[in-house]
């Protein structure tokens, strides 16, 4: 045990109520992983601060004793972003879960990071508004986690991801200082640091308050699906719709393996014999949706759709979406385990990439179910396996890596919404060369000179700020210089 742990423990006990400070093994075990459960690490301590001052004081202690720390929201992340470090503190923001302000005229809501995504929409529903980013985990995931991962969802084709819906935030820097970025206005002079912090995977500090943009609920929503004999036809329908000047709220494709799994669990009304289905949602003013619907139907027919089914009411619409949103969980019906990746490809490379993944699936002898955000080319291949079979997970990881390579080779990205985290950090060099990563490290060093905040994530190898163009002397010189202004 680090000789300082006792001292740190004493300091934490002075900051936190007993029920906000967990240090016994049986208490800590629940925090040893996020939704990427194949990796587990027990932290030294788990703390659950209730306000920004506590977060700041905890981090000041960490800074003083060089103890790493990892922030955590609801732990629904799929890339291991909230995986603890074994010599560090896990900081759960779960208790900071208040909606602080609803400002309808300015179309914004101010929340603490532990507020659940869906609660924001619920809070403003009666005013006719909602919070647009809607990850599948929205009934449990938190805004703080969404900010860290720049979460997307099924409607981000039209409405964008988290970064497009954040006006400002308050955060505690890795030295304990509390700062604000952005605010209630849409523009502030100076660098757009807000853009960097959103999606920084918890490496730059801990967010303690978020100002969210809310959006007006659409007047009309039309949801439909079309079934196809080939996934290529579903793919060309997607391009066809966009080329016609229509950007639907969402476009999702599911392959036959997925359709069958979903049908056994939720009975969403999908045709089980279809090779694939394309689920489309149009929303907007009546006039717009009504004008777009026939165009969409035309495109689908031109691309050999077998069946087109438009949800006749809200209940059926919800059912169509329930099928899509429960696709991951439904895999439990057909396989003991699954592993999901979220690589992105240019939309016109869909058929080619799917052919290659199918080939890989056969080579590895592992079934891959495909469900994805087709409108933005964000794949979610679900590799089915059995973790009880020795060595199978290693095989799965290797296959997943090959898929990511294909995505990048096709001109895409290794992650569209789940983040790099711990899971994909060894793959990030597929996309970014040393210069790119060194530039990103300049940002890490700007915020976190000691490298204490969520270490071991995002970057393939840990580096110190002294290693990329900045000498230790230079780093501490900057630190001294800036300290005068910051503290």
């Amino acid at each position: 045990m680090n000789k300082n742990y006792n001292e740190i423990k004493k300091r934490f006990e002075a900051i936190l109520d007993p029920d906000s400070f967990l240090h016994r093994e049986e208490e800590i075990i629940a925090f040893e992983c996020d939704a990427l459960t194949y990796y587990r690490v027990k932290p030294v301590f788990v703390v659950l601060p209730i306000n920004k001052q506590q977060v700041s004081e905890i981090i000041k202690v960490c800074y003083e004793f060089n103890m790493p720390f990892v922030p955590r929201g609801a732990g629904t992340g799929l890339s291991g972003g909230a995986l603890p470090v074994d010599d560090g503190v896990l900081i759960s923001l779960a208790k900071m879960n208040q909606i602080l302000e609803i400002d309808i005229p300015n179309r914004l809501v101010v929340v603490q990071p532990g507020v659940i995504n869906r609660s924001v929409s619920e809070a403003v529903d009666s005013f006719g508004f909602y919070y647009a980013p809607d990850p599948s985990s929205q009934i449990v995931c938190t805004i703080g986690g969404n900010v860290a991962e720049n979460s997307g969802g099924v409607h981000c084709l039209k409405y964008g991801v988290t970064t497009n819906h954040i006006l400002g935030l308050e955060m505690v820097l890795p030295n304990g200082e509390i700062i604000e970025l952005g605010g209630k206005n849409q523009e502030y002079p100076g660098y757009d640091l807000l853009s960097i912090v959103v999606g920084s995977e918890g490496l730059l500090g801990i967010v303690t308050k978020v100002i969210l943009k809310i959006s007006k609920k659409p007047q009309l929503v039309k949801t439909l699906f079309a079934s196809f004999d080939s996934i290529e036809d579903a793919g060309s329908s997607v391009s066809g719709i966009i080329s016609n000047g229509i950007i639907p709220a969402g476009m999702e494709i599911m392959d036959n393996t997925c359709i069958r799994a979903v049908q056994t669990s939720v009975k969403a009304g999908y045709p089980e014999d279809a090779d694939s289905i394309l689920l489309i949602e149009l929303d907007g003013p009546n006039a717009e949706v009504e004008a777009q619907l026939p165009i969409v139907e035309n495109v689908l027919r031109e691309n050999s759709a077998i069946q087109i089914k438009i949800a006749k009411d809200e209940a059926e619409r919800e059912l169509f979406w329930k099928g899509r949103k429960s696709a991951f969980a439904a895999m439990g019906r057909v396989s003991p385990d699954y592993y999901v990746q979220d690589g992105v490809i240019p939309r016109n490379k869909l058929a080619e990439v799917l052919r290659k993944t199918k080939q890989l699936s056969e080579e590895y002898g592992l079934t891959i179910a495909n469900v994805f955000h087709a409108g933005d080319g964000n794949l979610h291949p679900l590799i089915l396996f059995n973790s009880a079979v020795e060595g199978e997970f290693d095989k799965v990881e290797k296959l997943a890596g090959e898929i990511l390579k294909i995505c990048v080779e096709s001109g895409g990205s290794i992650t569209g919404e789940h983040g790099v985290g711990f899971d994909k950090k060894t793959y990030i060099p597929l996309m970014f060369n040393d210069h790119d990563l060194e530039t990103m490290q300049l940002i890490s060093c700007t915020f976190d000179l000691k490298g204490l905040c969520n270490p071991g994530k995002l970057f393939p190898t840990p580096r110190t700020c002294a290693e990329h163009g900045m000498t230790k002397e230079r780093a501490s010189e900057i630190e001294r210089k800036i300290e005068g202004e910051l503290y």
Partner: protein, 440 residues
């Protein structure tokens, strides 16, 4: 340590003689306030930009990147200026992926050329910045985060750019983002570079999302008599089931120009509300009917403008239309404060010897201003506005000030994260060679 005198021979090691200018007459277009460079370089490829920066950095020569030279008076006075780095010969369309709605262009491409190329393919870039007729380049628009009235619907380049390749001060070529519409890998360096005023790196290549051209566009214009009414109208319009491209509130000085342009019978109201809807034809017509019925319920009459392109061209370019001594500035407040701030500007301008043209993005909380007058009066106006805005957590930045304006801070307070911004600048540019003093 004294800087070594600039030696043209050394630059010729990596850039041909034709791409180096040193004559005063050639350097004048790069004048930034009181400063002229010693040399202007016109690299033809990214590698040359890299070599230039590496060389300049190691000799501590300050470098100012230029695109179309349309916004040279945006930002604070430079603390040093040795090398003008023109990107105008880096002007290739690298790739247009029509099916995937993405274009990759070099930074020196003129926005207008790229947009015309895309329009011929029935696609477009969804930002509408000013000065594109004067040669504004993609790189310059990115560096200044410039935009126009369609910001309400589409945002700025921050929302539209998916990847940027840039050259760091040490000559290293780096990128942020990826050429796909959705991507969360790594920090969003491409977003950080938008609006960074060429102080963190030289943007050399940009990938942008595209949109299909809309079938129809109509504009509705109406006069409103007081700020309370304006406030309630804006909220009603924003709450209605409409997809607006733009919602602008124009002051009488500017609306006079619009009336002249469109032939609409002039109406003298303190506020002219202008709404644009673009969509498939039927959707535009139906939504226009809704706009009319909402405004009619408040006894507001108005006119529909068909062929509205020139109206919006005018509104996006108006800040730079003046031939008189002027400043151009931009106010940012919460959107609900817009009517109050407009009222304040109107009232205070009556006591000042200035002429103000303004258009407010009512759905974004942003007011674009063109203020004509003598330097002394211009300065008083900005200072008054600034002190008023601090009471409502607003800000004002100046995008153009006269060359002889003297020492003046175009940015105002950089706010509670200014320490972090300075540290970021130091980390990206330890020798402070890129646009020194312009922003940080």
């Amino acid at each position: 340590m004294d800087k070594k005198k600039i030696n043209i021979e050394e630059f010729m090691n990596f850039i041909s003689h034709d791409n180096i200018h040193t004559q005063r007459s050639e350097l004048l277009k790069f004048q930034v306030f009181d400063k002229l460079p010693s040399i202007a370089l016109y690299p033809e490829n990214i590698e040359q930009v890299s070599q230039i920066l590496e060389y300049c950095n190691s000799n501590s020569y300050s470098v100012i990147p230029f695109g179309g030279c349309t916004k040279v008076s945006f930002g604070n006075t430079l603390t040093a200026f040795d090398v003008a780095l023109s990107l105008e010969r880096l002007n290739n369309i690298v790739k247009h992926d029509k099916e995937d709605f993405i274009i990759t262009v070099q930074a020196g491409c003129r926005f207008k050329d790229v947009q015309e190329f895309l329009l011929s393919k029935n696609q477009f870039i969804a930002v509408d910045p000013p000065l594109t007729d004067k040669g504004a380049t993609i790189g310059g628009i990115v560096a200044t985060n410039d935009y126009g009235p369609s910001r309400f619907r589409y945002g700025t380049f921050r929302e539209q750019i998916i990847e940027i390749v840039a050259v760091g001060t040490d000559g290293k070529i780096f990128k942020g983002g990826a050429k796909v519409v959705k991507n969360v890998a790594g920090y969003d360096i491409h977003k950080l570079l938008v609006g960074s005023m060429g102080t963190l790196g030289v943007v050399v290549e940009v990938s942008i999302k595209l949109y299909p051209v809309q079938e129809e566009s109509l504009t509705f214009i109406t006069g409103i008599s007081d700020s309370e009414m304006l406030k309630s109208c804006i909220q009603k319009i924003l709450n209605a089931d409409l997809v607006l491209s733009s919602i602008e509130v124009i002051n009488p000085e500017l609306s006079a120009d619009i009336f002249k342009l469109t032939g609409i019978r002039p109406i003298k109201f303190p506020y002219t509300l202008s709404l644009r809807i673009e969509n498939v034809k039927k959707a535009v017509i139906d939504q226009m009917a809704l706009v009319k019925s909402i405004l009619n319920s408040d006894n507001l009459e108005g006119a529909v403008i068909e062929n509205d392109i020139q109206v919006w061209e005018y509104l996006r370019n108006f800040p730079y239309k003046s031939n008189s001594n002027n400043i151009v500035c931009k106010v940012s407040v919460t959107m609900n404060e817009i009517p109050r701030v407009l009222e304040y500007i109107q009232e205070s301008s009556e006591n000042l010897d200035v002429k103000i043209f303004s258009s407010a993005k009512a759905g974004n909380g942003i007011i674009q201003l063109l203020i004509e007058g003598k330097n002394k009066d211009l300065e008083i106006t900005v200072e008054l506005l600034r002190s008023y805005l601090t009471t409502i957590q607003g800000s004002v930045i100046c995008q153009h000030i006269p060359r002889d304006f003297g020492k003046f801070d175009s940015w105002g307070e950089l706010g509670p994260s200014s320490g972090l911004m300075k540290l970021l600048k130091q980390n990206f540019d330890p020798n402070n060679i890129l646009n020194p003093g312009r922003l940080i």
